[in-house]
Protein backbone atom coordinates (compact mmCIF):
# COMPACT_ATOMS: atom_id res chain seq x y z
CA UNK A 1 0.00 0.00 0.00
CA UNK A 2 1.13 3.50 -0.74
CA UNK A 3 0.17 4.88 2.64
CA UNK A 4 2.49 7.24 4.48
CA UNK A 5 4.51 5.48 7.16
CA UNK A 6 2.62 5.49 10.45
CA UNK A 7 3.90 4.35 13.83
CA UNK A 8 2.87 0.82 14.59
CA UNK A 9 -0.38 0.83 16.58
CA UNK A 10 -0.38 -0.40 20.19
CA UNK A 11 -3.28 -2.70 19.57
CA UNK A 12 -4.81 -4.00 16.39
CA UNK A 13 -8.07 -5.89 16.38
CA UNK A 14 -8.69 -7.68 13.09
CA UNK A 15 -12.03 -9.14 12.09
CA UNK A 16 -12.80 -10.17 15.68
CA UNK A 17 -15.82 -12.43 16.17
CA UNK A 18 -17.30 -13.33 19.54
CA UNK A 19 -19.74 -16.18 19.72
CA UNK A 20 -22.20 -17.60 22.21
CA UNK A 21 -23.53 -21.14 21.91
CA UNK A 22 -26.74 -19.73 20.45
CA UNK A 23 -25.24 -17.33 17.98
CA UNK A 24 -22.71 -14.63 17.34
CA UNK A 25 -22.71 -11.37 19.30
CA UNK A 26 -19.83 -9.54 17.63
CA UNK A 27 -19.66 -10.06 13.88
CA UNK A 28 -16.14 -9.31 12.77
CA UNK A 29 -14.89 -5.92 13.88
CA UNK A 30 -11.63 -4.22 13.02
CA UNK A 31 -9.95 -1.30 14.72
CA UNK A 32 -6.57 -0.09 15.89
CA UNK A 33 -5.31 2.16 18.68
CA UNK A 34 -2.24 4.34 18.14
CA UNK A 35 0.34 4.99 20.83
CA UNK A 36 -0.86 7.48 23.41
CA UNK A 37 -4.24 7.97 21.73
CA UNK A 38 -7.76 7.38 22.99
CA UNK A 39 -10.20 5.39 20.92
CA UNK A 40 -13.81 5.53 22.08
CA UNK A 41 -16.08 2.61 21.35
CA UNK A 42 -19.66 3.87 21.58
CA UNK A 43 -22.99 2.15 21.32
CA UNK A 44 -26.11 1.27 23.23
CA UNK A 45 -26.44 -1.63 25.64
CA UNK A 46 -26.20 -4.99 23.95
CA UNK A 47 -24.26 -3.72 20.94
CA UNK A 48 -21.22 -5.77 21.95
CA UNK A 49 -18.89 -2.98 23.03
CA UNK A 50 -18.14 -4.44 26.47
CA UNK A 51 -17.71 -7.95 25.06
CA UNK A 52 -15.16 -6.52 22.67
CA UNK A 53 -13.30 -4.88 25.55
CA UNK A 54 -13.29 -8.04 27.62
CA UNK A 55 -12.21 -10.22 24.71
CA UNK A 56 -8.96 -8.27 24.33
CA UNK A 57 -7.70 -9.73 27.62
CA UNK A 58 -9.76 -12.90 27.18
CA UNK A 59 -11.97 -12.07 30.14
CA UNK A 60 -15.18 -13.16 28.42
CA UNK A 61 -18.01 -14.76 30.37
CA UNK A 62 -17.77 -18.59 30.36
CA UNK A 63 -20.43 -19.08 27.68
CA UNK A 64 -18.77 -16.70 25.23
CA UNK A 65 -15.67 -17.35 23.19
CA UNK A 66 -13.57 -15.73 20.49
CA UNK A 67 -14.88 -17.33 17.31
CA UNK A 68 -12.41 -15.79 14.93
CA UNK A 69 -10.07 -12.95 14.18
CA UNK A 70 -6.95 -11.59 15.82
CA UNK A 71 -6.06 -9.29 18.69
CA UNK A 72 -2.53 -8.15 17.98
CA UNK A 73 -0.57 -6.57 20.82
CA UNK A 74 3.21 -6.14 20.53
CA UNK A 75 3.32 -8.65 17.70
CA UNK A 76 1.48 -11.32 19.68
CA UNK A 77 -2.03 -12.53 18.94
CA UNK A 78 -3.76 -12.38 22.32
CA UNK A 79 -6.59 -14.53 21.00
CA UNK A 80 -4.25 -17.50 20.83
CA UNK A 81 -1.34 -16.91 23.27
CA UNK A 82 -0.92 -19.31 26.19
CA UNK A 83 -2.66 -18.59 29.48
CA UNK A 84 0.75 -18.16 31.09
CA UNK A 85 1.82 -15.55 28.59
CA UNK A 86 -1.52 -13.79 28.96
CA UNK A 87 -1.03 -13.48 32.73
CA UNK A 88 2.18 -11.57 32.07
CA UNK A 89 0.28 -9.11 29.91
CA UNK A 90 -2.81 -8.59 32.06
CA UNK A 91 -2.18 -5.65 34.37
CA UNK A 92 1.29 -5.05 32.94
CA UNK A 93 0.96 -4.49 29.20
CA UNK A 94 -2.79 -3.93 29.18
CA UNK A 95 -4.95 -2.99 32.18
CA UNK A 96 -8.69 -2.74 32.52
CA UNK A 97 -11.00 -0.59 34.65
CA UNK A 98 -14.55 -1.77 35.10
CA UNK A 99 -17.80 0.09 35.42
CA UNK A 100 -18.72 -0.94 38.95
CA UNK A 101 -16.30 0.48 41.52
CA UNK A 102 -18.48 -0.92 44.30
CA UNK A 103 -17.94 -4.55 43.39
CA UNK A 104 -14.62 -4.67 41.62
CA UNK A 105 -12.53 -4.34 44.79
CA UNK A 106 -12.18 -7.16 47.30
CA UNK A 107 -14.08 -6.04 50.42
CA UNK A 108 -11.95 -8.03 52.90
CA UNK A 109 -8.53 -6.84 51.75
CA UNK A 110 -7.06 -3.41 52.45
CA UNK A 111 -6.68 -1.00 49.56
CA UNK A 112 -2.92 -1.20 49.98
CA UNK A 113 -2.85 -4.99 49.76
CA UNK A 114 -4.81 -4.89 46.52
CA UNK A 115 -2.46 -2.39 44.92
CA UNK A 116 0.67 -4.16 46.21
CA UNK A 117 -0.49 -7.50 44.85
CA UNK A 118 -0.15 -6.39 41.26
CA UNK A 119 3.12 -4.54 41.80
CA UNK A 120 4.73 -7.53 43.49
CA UNK A 121 3.37 -9.92 40.89
CA UNK A 122 4.69 -8.04 37.89
CA UNK A 123 7.65 -6.07 39.17
CA UNK A 124 8.88 -8.44 41.87
CA UNK A 125 9.38 -5.61 44.36
CA UNK A 126 9.94 -6.26 48.06
CA UNK A 127 7.07 -5.76 50.48
CA UNK A 128 8.31 -2.41 51.73
CA UNK A 129 9.16 -1.10 48.28
CA UNK A 130 5.75 -2.19 46.98
CA UNK A 131 4.08 -0.36 49.86
CA UNK A 132 6.02 2.81 49.10
CA UNK A 133 5.00 2.53 45.45
CA UNK A 134 1.35 1.92 46.39
CA UNK A 135 1.32 5.09 48.49
CA UNK A 136 2.90 6.96 45.60
CA UNK A 137 0.15 5.66 43.30
CA UNK A 138 -2.63 6.68 45.69
CA UNK A 139 -1.13 10.13 45.71
CA UNK A 140 -0.92 10.09 41.91
CA UNK A 141 -4.64 9.41 41.53
CA UNK A 142 -5.48 12.24 43.91
CA UNK A 143 -6.34 10.47 47.14
CA UNK A 144 -5.64 12.68 50.15
CA UNK A 145 -3.60 11.26 53.06
CA UNK A 146 -2.35 8.24 51.09
CA UNK A 147 -0.36 6.91 54.08
CA UNK A 148 -3.52 6.47 56.15
CA UNK A 149 -5.75 5.46 53.24
CA UNK A 150 -3.34 2.67 52.30
CA UNK A 151 -4.43 0.58 55.27
CA UNK A 152 -8.17 1.18 54.93
CA UNK A 153 -10.77 -1.10 53.38
CA UNK A 154 -12.96 -0.46 50.31
CA UNK A 155 -16.01 0.31 52.48
CA UNK A 156 -14.18 3.35 53.84
CA UNK A 157 -14.12 4.83 50.34
CA UNK A 158 -16.88 6.55 48.38
CA UNK A 159 -17.74 5.52 44.82
CA UNK A 160 -15.52 8.11 43.20
CA UNK A 161 -12.62 7.27 45.52
CA UNK A 162 -12.98 3.56 44.78
CA UNK A 163 -12.81 4.27 41.10
CA UNK A 164 -9.61 6.22 41.78
CA UNK A 165 -8.22 3.18 43.58
CA UNK A 166 -9.17 1.00 40.59
CA UNK A 167 -7.30 3.43 38.38
CA UNK A 168 -4.27 3.30 40.69
CA UNK A 169 -4.25 -0.50 40.37
CA UNK A 170 -4.67 -0.29 36.61
CA UNK A 171 -1.76 2.09 36.06
CA UNK A 172 0.51 0.54 38.72
CA UNK A 173 2.76 -1.17 36.19
CA UNK A 174 2.75 1.55 33.51
CA UNK A 175 0.64 -0.31 30.95
CA UNK A 176 0.84 0.64 27.29
CA UNK A 177 -2.92 0.33 26.95
CA UNK A 178 -5.69 1.04 29.42
CA UNK A 179 -9.15 -0.34 28.71
CA UNK A 180 -11.83 1.67 30.52
CA UNK A 181 -15.26 0.06 30.39
CA UNK A 182 -17.83 2.75 31.20
CA UNK A 183 -15.50 4.08 33.92
CA UNK A 184 -17.86 6.82 35.09
CA UNK A 185 -21.34 5.44 34.45
CA UNK A 186 -21.94 4.51 38.09
CA UNK A 187 -20.75 7.89 39.37
CA UNK A 188 -22.36 11.28 39.95
CA UNK A 189 -21.95 13.98 37.30
CA UNK A 190 -19.49 16.12 39.20
CA UNK A 191 -17.45 13.03 40.09
CA UNK A 192 -17.60 11.78 36.49
CA UNK A 193 -15.82 14.89 35.35
CA UNK A 194 -13.16 14.46 38.06
CA UNK A 195 -12.49 10.83 37.11
CA UNK A 196 -12.33 11.51 33.38
CA UNK A 197 -9.96 14.38 33.96
CA UNK A 198 -7.76 12.11 36.07
CA UNK A 199 -7.73 9.42 33.38
CA UNK A 200 -6.81 11.95 30.74
CA UNK A 201 -4.01 13.43 32.88
CA UNK A 202 -2.56 9.97 33.55
CA UNK A 203 -2.77 9.07 29.89
CA UNK A 204 -0.51 11.99 29.04
CA UNK A 205 1.74 11.59 32.09
CA UNK A 206 2.33 7.86 31.55
CA UNK A 207 1.92 8.01 27.75
CA UNK A 208 -0.68 5.26 27.67
CA UNK A 209 -3.16 4.55 24.92
CA UNK A 210 -6.76 4.20 26.04
CA UNK A 211 -9.75 2.24 24.82
CA UNK A 212 -12.75 4.04 26.26
CA UNK A 213 -16.01 2.10 26.22
CA UNK A 214 -18.96 4.41 26.71
CA UNK A 215 -22.51 5.21 25.71
CA UNK A 216 -22.01 8.91 26.38
CA UNK A 217 -21.29 10.95 23.25
CA UNK A 218 -20.47 13.98 25.36
CA UNK A 219 -17.62 12.07 27.00
CA UNK A 220 -16.39 10.98 23.57
CA UNK A 221 -16.30 14.54 22.29
CA UNK A 222 -14.39 15.71 25.34
CA UNK A 223 -11.87 12.97 25.87
CA UNK A 224 -11.29 10.81 22.79
CA UNK A 225 -9.15 11.16 19.64
CA UNK A 226 -10.99 8.62 17.53
CA UNK A 227 -14.43 7.11 17.73
CA UNK A 228 -15.93 3.84 16.56
CA UNK A 229 -19.72 3.53 16.68
CA UNK A 230 -21.05 0.02 17.22
CA UNK A 231 -24.51 -1.21 16.40
CA UNK A 232 -25.73 -4.79 16.86
CA UNK A 233 -22.24 -6.32 16.97
CA UNK A 234 -20.69 -4.35 14.13
CA UNK A 235 -18.78 -1.12 13.76
CA UNK A 236 -20.94 1.10 11.59
CA UNK A 237 -18.77 4.20 11.55
CA UNK A 238 -15.20 4.99 12.47
CA UNK A 239 -13.62 8.43 12.30
CA UNK A 240 -11.53 10.99 14.10
CA UNK A 241 -13.52 12.81 16.78
CA UNK A 242 -13.26 16.13 14.97
CA UNK A 243 -14.65 14.73 11.73
CA UNK A 244 -17.31 12.72 13.48
CA UNK A 245 -18.84 15.55 15.49
CA UNK A 246 -18.65 17.93 12.57
CA UNK A 247 -21.04 15.65 10.70
CA UNK A 248 -21.43 11.90 11.24
CA UNK A 249 -22.25 9.98 8.07
CA UNK A 250 -24.05 6.83 9.19
CA UNK A 251 -27.79 7.28 9.83
CA UNK A 252 -27.42 5.57 13.21
CA UNK A 253 -24.61 7.91 14.31
CA UNK A 254 -26.70 10.85 13.15
CA UNK A 255 -29.68 9.57 15.13
CA UNK A 256 -27.58 9.07 18.26
CA UNK A 257 -26.16 12.55 18.08
CA UNK A 258 -29.55 14.10 17.38
CA UNK A 259 -31.38 12.26 20.15
CA UNK A 260 -29.01 13.43 22.86
CA UNK A 261 -30.60 16.34 24.63
CA UNK A 262 -29.28 19.40 22.91
CA UNK A 263 -27.68 22.42 24.47
CA UNK A 264 -30.52 24.84 23.85
CA UNK A 265 -33.55 22.60 23.52
CA UNK A 266 -36.79 22.92 25.42
CA UNK A 267 -39.75 20.65 24.87
CA UNK A 268 -42.17 23.42 24.07
CA UNK A 269 -39.97 24.43 21.19
CA UNK A 270 -39.21 21.13 19.57
CA UNK A 271 -39.35 17.42 20.16
CA UNK A 272 -36.28 15.28 20.64
CA UNK A 273 -35.28 13.23 17.63
CA UNK A 274 -36.12 9.60 18.22
CA UNK A 275 -34.63 6.51 16.66
CA UNK A 276 -37.72 4.40 16.10
CA UNK A 277 -37.95 0.87 17.45
CA UNK A 278 -35.25 -0.89 19.43
CA UNK A 279 -32.11 -2.93 18.76
CA UNK A 280 -34.07 -6.17 19.04
CA UNK A 281 -35.97 -5.35 15.86
CA UNK A 282 -32.85 -6.29 13.88
CA UNK A 283 -32.79 -9.90 15.08
CA UNK A 284 -32.89 -12.54 12.39
CA UNK A 285 -33.27 -10.16 9.44
CA UNK A 286 -31.02 -10.28 6.42
CA UNK A 287 -29.36 -7.17 5.13
CA UNK A 288 -28.29 -4.15 7.14
CA UNK A 289 -29.08 -4.67 10.82
CA UNK A 290 -30.02 -1.00 11.22
CA UNK A 291 -32.46 -1.11 8.28
CA UNK A 292 -35.62 -1.69 10.40
CA UNK A 293 -34.93 1.55 12.31
CA UNK A 294 -33.29 3.57 9.57
CA UNK A 295 -35.05 6.74 8.35
CA UNK A 296 -33.30 6.49 4.97
CA UNK A 297 -33.89 2.80 4.32
CA UNK A 298 -34.18 1.65 0.70
CA UNK A 299 -34.82 -1.71 -0.94
CA UNK A 300 -31.12 -2.40 -1.40
CA UNK A 301 -30.55 -2.22 2.38
CA UNK A 302 -32.42 -5.49 2.93
CA UNK A 303 -30.25 -7.45 0.51
CA UNK A 304 -26.87 -7.67 2.18
CA UNK A 305 -25.03 -6.51 5.28
CA UNK A 306 -22.93 -3.51 4.21
CA UNK A 307 -19.22 -3.78 4.96
CA UNK A 308 -17.22 -1.04 6.61
CA UNK A 309 -15.60 0.92 3.79
CA UNK A 310 -13.59 4.10 3.76
CA UNK A 311 -15.19 7.25 2.48
CA UNK A 312 -12.05 9.34 2.86
CA UNK A 313 -8.53 8.44 1.80
CA UNK A 314 -6.72 6.12 4.19
CA UNK A 315 -7.16 2.66 5.61
CA UNK A 316 -10.25 1.64 7.57
CA UNK A 317 -8.27 1.65 10.78
CA UNK A 318 -6.96 5.19 10.32
CA UNK A 319 -9.35 7.06 8.06
CA UNK A 320 -13.05 7.71 8.03
CA UNK A 321 -15.16 4.69 7.27
CA UNK A 322 -18.86 3.90 7.24
CA UNK A 323 -20.94 0.75 6.82
CA UNK A 324 -24.00 1.90 4.90
CA UNK A 325 -25.04 0.68 1.44
CA UNK A 326 -26.55 3.98 0.44
CA UNK A 327 -23.56 6.10 1.37
CA UNK A 328 -21.24 3.68 -0.37
CA UNK A 329 -23.37 3.65 -3.51
CA UNK A 330 -22.99 7.40 -3.91
CA UNK A 331 -20.05 7.93 -1.55
CA UNK A 332 -17.39 7.37 -4.20
CA UNK A 333 -18.55 10.46 -6.02
CA UNK A 334 -19.69 12.92 -3.44
CA UNK A 335 -18.21 12.32 0.00
CA UNK A 336 -14.76 11.21 -1.03
CA UNK A 337 -14.38 14.30 -3.16
CA UNK A 338 -15.79 16.57 -0.50
CA UNK A 339 -13.59 15.18 2.24
CA UNK A 340 -10.41 14.29 0.48
Amino acid sequence: MSLPQRPHPVLEVLDLRIGFPRGEAVHGITFAIEHGKTLALVGESGCGKSLTAFSILRLLPPAASIAGGQVVFNGQDLATVSARELRRIRGKGISIILQEPMTSLNPVLTIGAQICEIIRRHEGLSRSKAKARAIELLDLVGIAEPQRRHDQFPHNFSGGMRQRVMIAIAVACNPQLLIADEPTTALDVTIQAQVMELLDRLRHQLSMAMLLITHDLGAVAQWADRVAVMYAGRIVEQASVGEFFAGPKHPYSQGLLASSVGDEAHYTDRRLTEIKGSVASAAGATGCSFAPRCPRVAAACHLAQPALATIAPGAIRAGWSVACCQLQAQGGHTDAVAVG
Partner: protein, 310 residues
Protein backbone atom coordinates in the same frame (compact mmCIF):
# COMPACT_ATOMS: atom_id res chain seq x y z
CA UNK B 1 -53.97 27.49 44.77
CA UNK B 2 -51.14 25.23 43.57
CA UNK B 3 -51.84 21.56 42.98
CA UNK B 4 -49.07 20.50 45.34
CA UNK B 5 -47.68 22.63 48.10
CA UNK B 6 -44.96 21.31 50.38
CA UNK B 7 -43.78 23.25 53.39
CA UNK B 8 -40.79 22.70 55.62
CA UNK B 9 -40.82 19.01 54.86
CA UNK B 10 -38.43 16.83 56.77
CA UNK B 11 -37.97 13.09 56.31
CA UNK B 12 -35.57 11.20 58.53
CA UNK B 13 -34.07 7.77 58.63
CA UNK B 14 -33.00 6.32 61.94
CA UNK B 15 -30.51 3.52 62.29
CA UNK B 16 -28.85 2.42 65.54
CA UNK B 17 -29.97 5.56 67.30
CA UNK B 18 -28.40 7.76 64.66
CA UNK B 19 -30.82 10.04 62.82
CA UNK B 20 -30.21 11.31 59.30
CA UNK B 21 -32.43 14.02 57.87
CA UNK B 22 -32.45 12.98 54.21
CA UNK B 23 -34.90 15.75 53.45
CA UNK B 24 -34.20 18.67 55.73
CA UNK B 25 -36.73 21.45 55.53
CA UNK B 26 -37.89 21.56 51.91
CA UNK B 27 -40.63 23.82 50.59
CA UNK B 28 -41.88 23.64 47.03
CA UNK B 29 -44.96 24.09 44.88
CA UNK B 30 -46.19 22.44 41.72
CA UNK B 31 -49.00 24.15 39.81
CA UNK B 32 -51.52 22.32 37.66
CA UNK B 33 -50.11 21.38 34.23
CA UNK B 34 -46.63 22.35 35.35
CA UNK B 35 -43.44 20.31 35.02
CA UNK B 36 -41.04 20.84 37.87
CA UNK B 37 -37.61 19.23 37.64
CA UNK B 38 -35.69 18.18 40.73
CA UNK B 39 -31.96 17.56 40.29
CA UNK B 40 -29.15 16.60 42.59
CA UNK B 41 -26.44 14.02 43.01
CA UNK B 42 -26.98 10.62 44.59
CA UNK B 43 -27.61 10.88 48.29
CA UNK B 44 -28.96 14.43 48.17
CA UNK B 45 -32.43 13.23 49.19
CA UNK B 46 -34.29 13.77 45.94
CA UNK B 47 -35.78 10.27 45.77
CA UNK B 48 -36.70 10.40 49.46
CA UNK B 49 -38.48 13.68 48.78
CA UNK B 50 -40.37 12.11 45.87
CA UNK B 51 -41.39 9.10 47.90
CA UNK B 52 -42.52 11.31 50.77
CA UNK B 53 -44.68 13.41 48.46
CA UNK B 54 -46.53 10.33 47.18
CA UNK B 55 -46.56 9.21 50.83
CA UNK B 56 -44.68 5.97 50.40
CA UNK B 57 -42.74 7.44 53.33
CA UNK B 58 -44.09 9.39 56.29
CA UNK B 59 -42.44 12.75 56.91
CA UNK B 60 -41.18 13.53 60.40
CA UNK B 61 -42.16 17.18 60.09
CA UNK B 62 -43.84 19.64 57.75
CA UNK B 63 -46.90 19.59 55.54
CA UNK B 64 -47.77 18.21 52.10
CA UNK B 65 -50.90 19.79 50.66
CA UNK B 66 -52.49 18.21 47.63
CA UNK B 67 -55.40 20.27 46.29
CA UNK B 68 -55.49 21.98 49.66
CA UNK B 69 -55.72 18.80 51.72
CA UNK B 70 -52.85 18.07 54.12
CA UNK B 71 -51.81 14.47 53.45
CA UNK B 72 -48.58 14.50 55.43
CA UNK B 73 -49.82 12.43 58.37
CA UNK B 74 -52.76 10.48 56.91
CA UNK B 75 -52.91 6.74 57.61
CA UNK B 76 -53.03 4.12 54.84
CA UNK B 77 -56.82 3.96 54.76
CA UNK B 78 -57.36 7.71 54.42
CA UNK B 79 -54.57 7.85 51.84
CA UNK B 80 -56.39 5.63 49.36
CA UNK B 81 -58.53 8.31 47.71
CA UNK B 82 -55.46 10.58 47.59
CA UNK B 83 -53.40 7.99 45.71
CA UNK B 84 -55.77 8.26 42.77
CA UNK B 85 -54.58 11.78 42.08
CA UNK B 86 -50.87 11.33 42.75
CA UNK B 87 -48.91 8.49 41.19
CA UNK B 88 -45.29 7.56 40.70
CA UNK B 89 -43.13 6.25 37.84
CA UNK B 90 -40.07 4.39 39.06
CA UNK B 91 -36.52 4.31 37.80
CA UNK B 92 -35.90 0.64 37.21
CA UNK B 93 -38.24 -0.81 34.60
CA UNK B 94 -36.89 -4.26 35.44
CA UNK B 95 -37.55 -4.18 39.17
CA UNK B 96 -40.81 -2.26 39.30
CA UNK B 97 -43.07 -4.71 37.45
CA UNK B 98 -44.11 -7.99 39.06
CA UNK B 99 -42.46 -10.67 36.87
CA UNK B 100 -45.23 -13.17 37.61
CA UNK B 101 -48.14 -10.98 36.54
CA UNK B 102 -49.34 -10.41 33.00
CA UNK B 103 -49.33 -6.80 31.78
CA UNK B 104 -53.13 -6.89 31.83
CA UNK B 105 -53.14 -7.76 35.53
CA UNK B 106 -50.51 -5.15 36.32
CA UNK B 107 -52.70 -2.45 34.76
CA UNK B 108 -55.96 -3.84 36.13
CA UNK B 109 -54.91 -3.98 39.77
CA UNK B 110 -54.85 -0.22 40.46
CA UNK B 111 -58.34 0.11 38.98
CA UNK B 112 -59.68 -2.73 41.13
CA UNK B 113 -58.02 -1.38 44.24
CA UNK B 114 -59.64 1.96 43.63
CA UNK B 115 -63.09 0.47 43.40
CA UNK B 116 -63.89 0.44 39.71
CA UNK B 117 -66.14 -2.61 39.75
CA UNK B 118 -67.34 -2.71 36.17
CA UNK B 119 -64.98 -4.98 34.15
CA UNK B 120 -66.02 -3.29 30.90
CA UNK B 121 -65.11 0.12 32.27
CA UNK B 122 -61.74 -1.20 33.50
CA UNK B 123 -61.04 -2.77 30.11
CA UNK B 124 -61.95 0.44 28.33
CA UNK B 125 -59.58 2.47 30.48
CA UNK B 126 -56.74 -0.02 30.07
CA UNK B 127 -57.13 -0.03 26.29
CA UNK B 128 -57.28 3.75 26.25
CA UNK B 129 -54.01 4.09 28.12
CA UNK B 130 -52.17 1.33 26.22
CA UNK B 131 -53.08 2.94 22.90
CA UNK B 132 -51.58 6.20 24.14
CA UNK B 133 -48.28 4.54 25.05
CA UNK B 134 -48.11 2.49 21.81
CA UNK B 135 -48.41 -0.93 23.41
CA UNK B 136 -50.64 -3.20 21.30
CA UNK B 137 -53.66 -4.83 23.04
CA UNK B 138 -52.17 -8.32 22.50
CA UNK B 139 -49.39 -7.33 24.87
CA UNK B 140 -51.78 -7.42 27.81
CA UNK B 141 -51.52 -11.22 27.77
CA UNK B 142 -47.74 -11.18 28.03
CA UNK B 143 -45.28 -11.02 30.93
CA UNK B 144 -42.77 -8.24 31.70
CA UNK B 145 -39.72 -10.30 30.68
CA UNK B 146 -41.04 -10.39 27.11
CA UNK B 147 -40.54 -6.63 26.79
CA UNK B 148 -37.48 -4.45 26.30
CA UNK B 149 -36.44 -1.83 28.85
CA UNK B 150 -38.09 1.00 26.95
CA UNK B 151 -41.37 -0.90 26.61
CA UNK B 152 -41.35 -1.82 30.27
CA UNK B 153 -40.93 1.81 31.15
CA UNK B 154 -43.95 2.55 28.95
CA UNK B 155 -45.91 -0.04 30.93
CA UNK B 156 -44.76 1.53 34.21
CA UNK B 157 -46.00 4.87 32.93
CA UNK B 158 -49.32 3.31 31.89
CA UNK B 159 -49.76 1.85 35.37
CA UNK B 160 -49.24 5.28 36.89
CA UNK B 161 -51.65 6.96 34.47
CA UNK B 162 -54.46 4.42 34.36
CA UNK B 163 -56.10 6.06 37.40
CA UNK B 164 -56.11 9.48 35.75
CA UNK B 165 -53.88 11.21 38.30
CA UNK B 166 -53.27 14.95 38.36
CA UNK B 167 -49.71 14.77 39.56
CA UNK B 168 -47.12 12.19 38.53
CA UNK B 169 -43.82 11.92 40.36
CA UNK B 170 -41.25 10.52 37.91
CA UNK B 171 -38.18 9.21 39.72
CA UNK B 172 -35.34 8.97 37.18
CA UNK B 173 -37.68 7.55 34.53
CA UNK B 174 -35.09 7.44 31.76
CA UNK B 175 -31.75 6.95 33.47
CA UNK B 176 -31.83 3.16 33.08
CA UNK B 177 -32.52 3.43 29.35
CA UNK B 178 -30.37 3.77 26.26
CA UNK B 179 -30.00 7.16 24.62
CA UNK B 180 -32.24 6.49 21.63
CA UNK B 181 -34.93 5.04 23.92
CA UNK B 182 -34.61 7.95 26.38
CA UNK B 183 -35.71 10.32 23.64
CA UNK B 184 -38.76 8.13 22.91
CA UNK B 185 -39.83 8.09 26.56
CA UNK B 186 -39.25 11.83 27.07
CA UNK B 187 -41.33 12.61 23.98
CA UNK B 188 -44.03 10.26 25.24
CA UNK B 189 -44.12 12.00 28.63
CA UNK B 190 -44.46 15.36 26.89
CA UNK B 191 -47.35 14.08 24.74
CA UNK B 192 -49.14 12.52 27.70
CA UNK B 193 -48.82 15.71 29.69
CA UNK B 194 -50.39 17.72 26.88
CA UNK B 195 -53.17 15.20 26.18
CA UNK B 196 -54.10 14.36 29.75
CA UNK B 197 -53.35 17.66 31.47
CA UNK B 198 -50.80 16.24 33.88
CA UNK B 199 -48.37 17.93 36.22
CA UNK B 200 -44.96 16.30 36.72
CA UNK B 201 -42.41 16.36 39.46
CA UNK B 202 -39.49 15.07 37.44
CA UNK B 203 -36.58 13.76 39.51
CA UNK B 204 -33.22 13.19 37.85
CA UNK B 205 -29.51 13.38 38.42
CA UNK B 206 -29.10 14.50 34.84
CA UNK B 207 -29.43 18.25 34.49
CA UNK B 208 -29.32 18.06 30.70
CA UNK B 209 -32.51 15.99 30.71
CA UNK B 210 -34.24 18.06 33.36
CA UNK B 211 -33.49 21.39 31.82
CA UNK B 212 -34.87 20.19 28.52
CA UNK B 213 -38.00 18.89 30.10
CA UNK B 214 -38.97 21.16 32.97
CA UNK B 215 -40.64 24.55 33.20
CA UNK B 216 -38.92 25.13 36.50
CA UNK B 217 -35.94 23.36 38.06
CA UNK B 218 -35.18 22.82 41.73
CA UNK B 219 -31.59 21.99 42.60
CA UNK B 220 -31.10 19.94 45.73
CA UNK B 221 -27.96 19.55 47.80
CA UNK B 222 -27.72 17.52 51.01
CA UNK B 223 -31.40 17.55 51.84
CA UNK B 224 -32.07 21.20 50.99
CA UNK B 225 -33.16 23.06 47.91
CA UNK B 226 -30.40 25.48 46.99
CA UNK B 227 -31.91 27.03 43.88
CA UNK B 228 -35.24 27.29 42.18
CA UNK B 229 -35.01 28.64 38.67
CA UNK B 230 -37.35 28.91 35.71
CA UNK B 231 -36.21 27.55 32.40
CA UNK B 232 -34.78 30.75 30.96
CA UNK B 233 -32.89 31.68 34.14
CA UNK B 234 -31.30 28.28 34.41
CA UNK B 235 -29.96 28.69 30.90
CA UNK B 236 -28.75 32.22 31.04
CA UNK B 237 -28.13 33.06 34.64
CA UNK B 238 -27.81 30.17 37.09
CA UNK B 239 -27.16 31.77 40.47
CA UNK B 240 -25.99 29.13 42.91
CA UNK B 241 -22.37 27.98 42.54
CA UNK B 242 -23.51 24.37 42.83
CA UNK B 243 -25.95 24.77 39.94
CA UNK B 244 -23.19 26.33 37.89
CA UNK B 245 -20.88 23.42 38.69
CA UNK B 246 -23.56 20.90 37.71
CA UNK B 247 -24.08 22.68 34.41
CA UNK B 248 -20.36 22.83 33.77
CA UNK B 249 -20.00 19.10 34.44
CA UNK B 250 -22.30 18.11 31.58
CA UNK B 251 -19.99 16.86 28.85
CA UNK B 252 -21.01 18.54 25.64
CA UNK B 253 -21.03 16.96 22.22
CA UNK B 254 -19.83 20.32 20.96
CA UNK B 255 -16.09 20.09 21.17
CA UNK B 256 -15.39 23.77 21.47
CA UNK B 257 -16.99 23.81 24.91
CA UNK B 258 -14.33 22.22 27.11
CA UNK B 259 -15.23 21.41 30.69
CA UNK B 260 -14.80 24.61 32.64
CA UNK B 261 -14.85 24.03 36.37
CA UNK B 262 -14.69 20.62 37.94
CA UNK B 263 -16.01 20.58 41.45
CA UNK B 264 -13.62 19.25 44.07
CA UNK B 265 -14.64 16.74 46.73
CA UNK B 266 -17.80 14.67 46.94
CA UNK B 267 -21.25 14.87 48.49
CA UNK B 268 -21.23 13.76 52.09
CA UNK B 269 -17.50 14.09 52.61
CA UNK B 270 -17.28 15.87 55.92
CA UNK B 271 -20.68 17.58 55.98
CA UNK B 272 -20.07 20.94 57.64
CA UNK B 273 -21.89 21.29 60.95
CA UNK B 274 -22.12 25.07 60.73
CA UNK B 275 -22.85 27.54 58.00
CA UNK B 276 -23.57 26.61 54.39
CA UNK B 277 -23.53 22.90 53.60
CA UNK B 278 -21.94 23.43 50.25
CA UNK B 279 -19.10 25.65 51.46
CA UNK B 280 -16.49 22.87 51.69
CA UNK B 281 -16.83 22.23 47.96
CA UNK B 282 -17.72 25.74 46.94
CA UNK B 283 -15.24 27.55 44.69
CA UNK B 284 -16.33 31.01 45.90
CA UNK B 285 -16.95 30.48 49.64
CA UNK B 286 -16.17 33.42 51.94
CA UNK B 287 -15.92 33.92 55.71
CA UNK B 288 -19.65 34.45 56.15
CA UNK B 289 -20.39 31.01 54.66
CA UNK B 290 -18.69 29.32 57.60
CA UNK B 291 -21.03 30.79 60.17
CA UNK B 292 -24.37 31.66 58.55
CA UNK B 293 -26.53 28.98 56.97
CA UNK B 294 -28.11 30.68 53.93
CA UNK B 295 -31.90 30.41 53.67
CA UNK B 296 -33.71 30.00 50.35
CA UNK B 297 -34.39 33.65 49.40
CA UNK B 298 -37.12 34.67 46.99
CA UNK B 299 -35.84 36.95 44.28
CA UNK B 300 -37.69 39.64 42.40
CA UNK B 301 -38.06 37.50 39.25
CA UNK B 302 -39.85 34.71 41.14
CA UNK B 303 -36.80 32.47 41.38
CA UNK B 304 -35.08 31.62 44.65
CA UNK B 305 -31.54 30.88 45.75
CA UNK B 306 -29.83 29.84 48.99
CA UNK B 307 -26.46 31.57 48.77
CA UNK B 308 -25.02 34.62 50.48
CA UNK B 309 -23.18 35.66 47.36
CA UNK B 310 -25.89 35.25 44.77
Amino acid sequence: MPLLSVENLRTSYTSRGHTLHAVDGVSLEVAEHETVGLVGESGCGKSTLGKTIVRLLRPSDGTIRLDGQDISQLDERSLRPVRRSVQMVFQDPFGSLNPRQRIGTILDTPLKVHGIRDPEERRRRILDITSRISIPPEALQRYPHEFSGGQRQRIGIARALVLNPKLVVCDEPVSALDLSIQAQILNLLVDLKRDLGLAYLFISHDLSVVRYFADRVLVMYLGRIVESADHATLWRNPRHPYTRALLAAIPSARQDKKLAAVLAGEVGQGIPTSGCRFRTRCPVAVKQCETDDPALRKLADGNAVACHLA
